[in-house]
């Protein structure tokens, strides 16, 4: 369970959001709503500990980022940036990269699972392609698979379908629903929450 309690989001001396609170159970999805420039991305980056230390205002199963150790926290609560940045090398090298970090604690890159997930996202046989040669939409899907292969508990997804056409968008969201069925919780920034999904309006919390 990801719990956010009375979290303030700041940009330098300026408060963007005050007192953000919500809970996100395994398998749940929550969409953050609010005008652009409100601080939605900064909120996600704060939860991941990339923008500022979230302190005890954010916990996963009762433990803070500091208690996990920051790199280990980010493996459990993974931020998926809107821009699908590819590292040098092949798609395989991109997907395997997080398993070279110390925080992987011995977990090995599962090539078969990567291949299967990419195929499910309509990207079969791309593992050995140079990542830089992929199209924007292809990069976005590889970006998503790279974030999920390490098995995070929570995905902080910042506009994960921005580079996709409507068909690709629906396919990717269906695929994420399957991952949610396996216990993944997703905190979204996107403009079109699905029917029946929870949403949190941040306008009232503007700082």
């Amino acid at each position: 369970m990801l719990a956010v309690r009375e979290l303030d989001v700041r940009m330098g001396d300026r408060a963007l959001l005050r007192g953000v609170s919500f809970e996100l159970a395994p398998g749940e999805a929550l969409t953050l709503r609010g005008k652009s420039g409100l601080g939605k991305s900064t909120l996600l980056r704060t939860i991941a500990g990339l923008h500022a230390d979230p302190g005890d205002a954010v916990t996963l199963d009762g433990r803070s980022a500091r208690a996990f150790g920051v790199p280990a926290w980010r493996r459990r609560v993974t931020y998926l940036a809107q821009a699908p940045v590819m590292l040098e090398g092949s798609v395989r090298e991109n997907l395997a990269r997080p398993f070279t970090y110390r925080s992987a604690t011995g977990a090995a890159f599962d090539s078969a699972r990567a291949e299967q997930w990419l195929a499910e996202l309509d990207l079969p046989g791309v593992l050995d392609r140079e990542a830089a040669t992929l199209s924007g939409g292809e990069k976005q899907r590889v970006h998503l698979v790279r974030a999920l292969l390490g098995g995070p508990a929570v995905l902080l997804a910042d506009e994960p379908t921005a580079s996709l056409d409507p068909e690709g968008r629906a396919r990717l969201l269906d695929w994420l629903d399957t991952r949610r069925g396996e216990g993944l919780a997703v905190l979204f920034i996107r403009h079109d929450p699905r029917q029946g999904e929870r949403a949190l309006d941040l306008e009232a919390l503007r700082g």
Partner: protein, 269 residues
């Protein structure tokens, strides 16, 4: 020219003659409207004043051999070199001076002491006649490499921020996230000294060796000194670049494995 036993001493008239060659270049600049005449003259005047001041200061320091005096002069030289190295980069990094200064003390400073004490065999080991010129050569040449290295690293952190943050978001430590930029930066920093070693004696006769030969040193002896200097510069530049890059990474990415872009500022061109 006035001839001594070994050294052919230059008179002020000799120097004035050489200076007219620069003035000639200034005239060409004027004729071609290159707009460089003023800079050439200013450069000539500055070099003359600075080098004579250095010469008189060294003459005084050489006449008063004391470890504190040599150490003080060395620390001033390292401070100035650190400042120059940090100012040559396209981005400024707040709080980088202390780490860079310490790195230069531990690389150029220690290498100059090693060169003076072990290889040249100066007695005492802190004799300013040996230690200070060696340190000057190491700092002067190392500075270029260290600046290039630091510039490459800071550009990566500033302009390639999304890539560094991607790795952090996926669970990388700050060292893992800065591994590639750091490797690229150190490689870039040592290219000039590697190139200098590659072409030494083939394309160019190095400046120090030329000076020694002109002042009467036997060429093979001058080669030995030049090689000593080149090897010390290569070692100090590589370790110095690495050290400065590690300190800069520690400032640009904090202990919470977070990139701190507010500590980086692009310099006005």
């Amino acid at each position: 020219m006035a001839e001594g036993a070994d050294v052919i001493a230059l008179s002020l008239v000799d120097l004035a003659g050489a200076a007219t060659l620069v003035l000639l270049a200034g005239v060409v600049s004027l004729l071609l409207r290159l707009g460089l005449g003023g800079q050439l003259v200013l450069g000539m005047v500055r070099a003359t004043v600075q080098l004579f001041l250095l010469g008189f200061a060294l003459r005084w320091i050489f006449a008063h051999v004391h470890w504190a005096l040599t150490g003080g002069a060395a620390l001033v030289m390292i401070s100035l070199a650190t400042r120059a190295a940090l100012q040559r980069t396209s981005h400024a990094l707040a709080g980088a001076f202390a780490g860079s200064f310490l790195t230069l003390v531990l690389t150029a400073g220690v290498f100059a002491i090693l060169g003076s004490a072990l290889f040249v065999g100066a007695d005492p080991w802190y004799h300013p006649r040996y230690l200070l010129p060696l340190l000057g050569m190491l700092l002067g040449n190392g500075l270029t490499g260290i600046s290039l290295c630091l510039d490459s690293l800071l550009v990566s952190f500033a302009d390639d921020r999304e890539r560094v943050e991607l790795e952090l978001a996926l669970g990388a430590t700050r060292w893992e996230a800065s591994r590639d930029p750091l490797r690229r930066a150190v490689r870039r920093g040592i290219v000039p000294i590697v190139n200098a070693m590659m072409v030494a004696g083939v394309v160019s006769i190095p400046g120090m060796m030329t000076g020694q030969i002109l002042s009467g040193t036997e060429p093979v002896e001058a080669v030995k000194y030049q090689l000593l200097i080149l090897f010390l510069i290569a070692g100090a530049t590589t370790l110095g670049s690495l050290g400065v890059a590690v300190f800069a990474s520690m400032r640009a990415l904090d202990e919470d494995h977070r990139l701190r872009p507010e500590r980086l500022r692009r310099r006005a061109k």
